[in-house]
Each structure stands twice: as structure tokens, then as C-alpha cells.
Amino acid sequence: MLQRKDAVVSAPRKVRGESLASKMFSDLRSDTLSFVAFVFVSAVILIAVFGPLPVSTDPNQLNLRHALARPSSEFWLGTDDLGRDQFSRLISATRVTLLAAAEAVAVSLVIGLPLGLVAGYFGGKIDSVLSRLNDALMSVPALILAIAVVAVVGPGLTTSMFAIGVVFSPSIFRLVRGSTMAVRSETYVEAAVAIGARSPRIMFVHVLRNIFPPVLVQISLLIGIAMIAEANLSFLGLGVVPPEASWGSMLRTAFDTFYAAPFLMFAPGLAIGLTVLAFSQLGDGLGGALTGKKASR
């Protein structure tokens, strides 16, 4: 008797304990293209973290005798105009590029997320003031500001990506503000007020947890855009400082020696193109998984 009762009670337990993250992941798996993008992005991140370890060649080692060598068993992707191994530079540039993009997105999150929460949650005058400031910031072109900052502070990826991040923050602000306004009228927020929870806790726990999925999608899309911004700046020589390499600065080198060694542009060009595409597809896929719809493509 007791056993039978147990069996009945435990029947629906399969669904239980399934976290939202694991549900999102399983939804993502059913969307082939996004899952490929997810695997690709994971691989790029792994290379950025662990890549330089197994690569024995120093990416900054000059070897003028082998300058502009074609791809071979010794130099898998050839060498650049100073004879540096293109493959090890590509690997070490992965970390530089991703870190730069992550920095810009982190800066925009640190600025946009709390302000968006405050504006959306409290509304009224605070919202009007913050939204006007936000509109003003949106009218600033990202690259121009970054170039201006570099002109003042001097070249460096950290400062220019910081400027990019500031200019990106309105996109986070607007998303967070809008989602917060929608979630704020939910009964569970009212219920949180009714148990005496204070505003910061309601904003950063109850509201943030529920608006986080669209923010995650936006982060994925922004990383792609930030990588392009980094490539732009480094291509113009305003980003990474030599001898360090980023994908953008490698593309610049390839551009300078285009007629002598056209093969040099493929590796960094493809790396930028595919990674940006993957982040953007992943963002779409996550968005689809969250709304329960297939990504529109």
C-alpha cells in the first residue's frame, strides 16, 4: 500500500528540478544552426583561454629570413611581413580580440543595467531624466568617440574599447528599462512588495532574474558588434599596440602586404567574419529558445 502511494506521488517528478538554464540549452540543441554557432563560440572561447599554451612558437618572434612565407608544414598559415608565424599570432590574437569585445560589453552592462532597472522600476521623473541622457548618448557615433578618446589618451585597446562600451550602453539601457517596465506590473513583483521586500532587492533579484534572458541575447549580439568595432580600430592603428596582435591588426598587416602575400588576409578575415556570425546566430537562437519560437532566418 505504502509503495503504491509512493509510486503515484513520485510520477511527475521527472519534470521537477529542471532549471531554466538546462531548458534553454535543450531548446537550443533542437535548432541545428544555433547549436553549431554555440559549439563554434565555445571553441573560440576555449582557444582564447587555453590556446596559447600548446602553441610553442612565440607569436612575436621575428624571423626576417622567412618573411611573407607561404603556408607550409612549418608555418601553417604562413608568416607576415616581419616573418612572424601567422598561426600562433592568430591564436594569441583570439584572446586579445575576445577580451576587448568582452570589455566593451562589460562596460555597457555596468552602465546600462542598473540605470535601466532604476528607470524602468521607478518611472516618473527619474525615468525621464535618464531616458533623455540616454537619447543624447545614442546620438554619439561609437567609432568617432573611440577615435577622439584615443586622440586624447593615446592609443591602446583598453581605453578605446572602454569608449565603445560607453556608447553601447544605451542599447542595454533601453532593453533593460523596457523589460523592467513589463515585469514590474507582474503579480509576483506586487507579491514581493507585499512581503516587505525593499526596492533594491526587488530590482536586482525579482526583476533582474526575469529580464535576464533577453539581456543575455543582447549580450551575445553586442559581443559580435564590439568585435567589429575592435577590428575597425585596430585596422586604423588605434587599437592594439604592436607587437601584440588582434584580428583587426592582423588584417591591417595583411592589407599592407596584399600584393605580395594575399593569403595572409584569409585567416584573420575568416576569424572575424565567422565569430561575429556565430555570436549573432547564437543570440538569435537564444532569443528563439526563450520565446519558444524558431529563430527567424
Binding site: V9, P12, R13, V15, R16, G17, E18, S19, L20, E186, T187, Y188, E190, A191, A192, V193, A194, I195, G196, A197, R198, H206, R209, N210, F212
Partner: protein, 338 residues
Amino acid sequence: MTPRLDRNTLTVKDLSVEFTADGTIIRPVDGVSLSIRAGEMLGLVGESGSGKSVTSLAVTGLTDYTGGRVVGGSVHLEGTDILSLASRQRSDVLGRDIGMIFQQPMRSLNPTMRIGNQVAEVIRRHRRLSKREAWNQAVEMLDRVRIPEPHKRAHDYPFSFSGGMAQRVMIAMALACQPKLMIADEPTTALDATVQARVMDLLRELQQDLDVAVLLITHDLGVASSYCDRIAVMYCGQIVEQGSTADVLMRPTHPYTRGLLDATPIRGSRERLLPIVGNVPPAADLPSGCRFHPRCQLSVPGLCDRMLPELRLDETGCGDRCLHPESATTLVSGVSTG
């Protein structure tokens, strides 16, 4: 009434709430007075738009949360003047002295938090307890509202709970800090009839065990009559009749209460349901005189459309707001309410 006053958990006096919508001022709650003793359940009954929910919100001091403002009256919870509290002190009272449950239990729980954490949150907010102790108390509360296997279910997310189970969780949250007052705003409206009865039975039982005063807001006279000690009937922002459940149901003196009863189905009765003619007038455009007179069968031209009757209560707190209640009582004859 006066000698009992000090024993009241909740005392509301002449409470009025106003909203400004599109430049016009409306007053969905106009001079509401009521009181509830510990362990007592008061049913606030009325149609949609009669001001029940606005009243309940004003009692918690949260009127400004929805953009309204209290323009008169007072709310006292065991000597604490709720309306004069600053928002910080008010949030100390909410959850500790006042527990609330809502109409949509599934939407009242945060979908991204484990059930146990949500119940523990109330406890941690008002008591100095470690996470582990609060969790254990939360599991205890879940057991108390008869959630099977509470130590396991506490780890689950709300989507794996049914409406009835979710409302039990809400009751656990509302009662976790042993409040003095519990406000239940249409707690069973969204639930099946069978689940409704079980949730209400549980609510009634826990309320009496813990000696909590309950303000039950409902449009369902059936629910109110089965569970409440006293009933207050609201119409157009005013209480039109108040009294013990038996009195209000068996001897309604206000024509509106009479009408509500005639429109309520009774099991075993073959009588036709009589709807109340017309609709609740919008709060922005209230009729002159008695607010019920355009829909009232007993309305006397020249009297009911001129004078707004006072709410007259006898020493037991029973009474109504009608210019000629005697005739309403005579109207009752022949209609059974059992």
C-alpha cells in the same frame, strides 16, 4: 461597538481613496469603515468595480503603488497607524504583520525562484535567521499548508505546481511570519470549484489555529457565506450593508444585498435566478442620492434620488445604508436562502 474597539486587530475608519484618470478625479473608495477581530474572517463582497480591491490595497498602505491616494480616514492595525508610516517602516510591517494572497496564484510566484527560497525570503526579510534556518522554516510552512513531500518540493520551480498548490505556497508565504492580519484578494476565483473548497478549508483552519484576522475579498457570496464570520457588502465604493453572515444572508435589509442573493444559485432550489437590472455605474459618473437607486425596485422618486443614506450600524456592528430597509425585509418573504 465602542467596548469592542480595543480588541479589534484591524480598524478602518472613513477611508476614502482617489485616483486621477485623464484629468478627472474618481473616488473608488468613499468613506469605508470596517473592523476585524483576531481569528475572525470578514468577507468584503461586491461586484467588479465596487472598490473591494482598492480598499484592500489601501489597508496595506500601498495605494500609492498603483497611483492612487488616500484622501481621508484612518487604518489602524493593533494601534499602528498604517497610513502614517514612511515607506521604509511600511515595508517592515508588510509580510510581518500583514500577509497577502492574490487572485492569480501562478502569477504571484516568481517563475525564476525555487519555491523554498520564495517562502524563505519572507522569513529572512523579517527575522534574523541564517539561510539554512529560514529554509527549514519554509519547508515546515509548506508542510503546514499540506504540500506533499515539502522537503523535495521546496527545490522545485513554480511551473511544476498546479494552481491550487501554488495558492497553498502563497498561503505559506503570507502566514510564515505569523501576521496579525491576512488579506486574501479573490484567493480562489482562478481555481476549480473542488480545489477552491480545499484551499478555503485550509485557509480557514490555519487562520483559526494562528488566530489571524482575515479580510476576504470576493464577489462570490457562496464562498463568503460558507467561510466568513461577518460580511460587508460593497457597492460603488461604499459599504451598503454589514453584519454577521447569518444576518446578512437570512435577513438582508438592503435591496442590493437582496438582489445579490437572488442572483446567487442555491443547490436544490428550483427558483429562477433574478439578475439585478442594469450595471454598476462608472466611478466617474455616480448617480445622485442613493447610489443604488437607478437599479433599485424600491426606489422612491423624490427621496432616493435626492438623499444619500447614511450607514447606520447597531451596537453589534450590523446595519445598512438604505432609506427604507423595512420594506426590503418584507420583500424577502417567500424566498429561501438555505
